[in-house]
């Protein structure tokens, strides 16, 4: 399953975006967030 994850995220972005999850309210499909989500908790 981890290998599958690496393979999926190695696909060209254009291909992944064909499966973008959309605005249906469901989260199935591809999503990309173009801003850092991780937070440095030590700075909080």
């Amino acid at each position: 399953m981890f290998k599958l994850g690496a393979e999926v995220f190695s696909l060209p972005l254009e291909e992944k975006l064909q499966y973008e999850q959309g605005d249906s309210g469901r989260s199935f499909g591809f999503e990309i967030l173009l801003f850092p989500m991780a937070q440095d908790l030590t700075e909080a």
Partner: protein, 142 residues
């Protein structure tokens, strides 16, 4: 809690010194219903990379995860003094649900104190249970 949802999450992250991508976080969420019904489609389609692995990789993973989830639900039912099977009855396989296996790629963050750990910002999960697995891929995207 949304009825009948248990989610399975895998983090795939890159080592800071080897990451050559942008700061984008990526998610590929595969619906449990689509996995169990494959090759029939319940909610949506997925990249060929996913569908090719659906039977040999994704379905065994999801089925094993559901076994674990049901065990946890059974323990909760018992420890909370609920009628036997009450929580499991809300998570049967024949009900459509928002359950999914979620693949996550989190970018490396050089210079941050958490750069050596897969992490994601503060957030709310949905559903009844979320199980999380982590993997550092030190050669990812080389």
């Amino acid at each position: 809690m949304r009825r009948g949802e248990c989610n399975i999450i895998l983090f795939v992250t890159a080592a800071p010194e080897l990451d050559r991508l942008s700061d984008a976080s990526e998610f590929m969420n595969i619906a449990k219903d689509d996995v169990l019904a494959f090759p029939q489609m319940v909610h949506r389609d997925y990249p060929p990379t996913v569908t090719t692995a659906m039977t040999s990789v994704v379905k065994p993973f999801v089925c094993k995860s559901l076994e674990v989830n049901n065990t946890v639900l059974r323990v909760f039912s018992r420890r909370l003094g609920l009628p036997e099977g009450s929580l499991e009855a809300l998570h049967t396989r024949d009900q459509q649900s928002g359950s999914e296996a979620r693949l996550i790629r989190v970018p490396a963050m050089p210079g941050k104190s958490l750069a050596d750990r897969p992490t994601i910002g503060a957030h709310s999960d949905f559903g009844s249970l979320v199980s999380v697995s982590f993997l550092f891929l030190f050669c990812f995207h080389r």
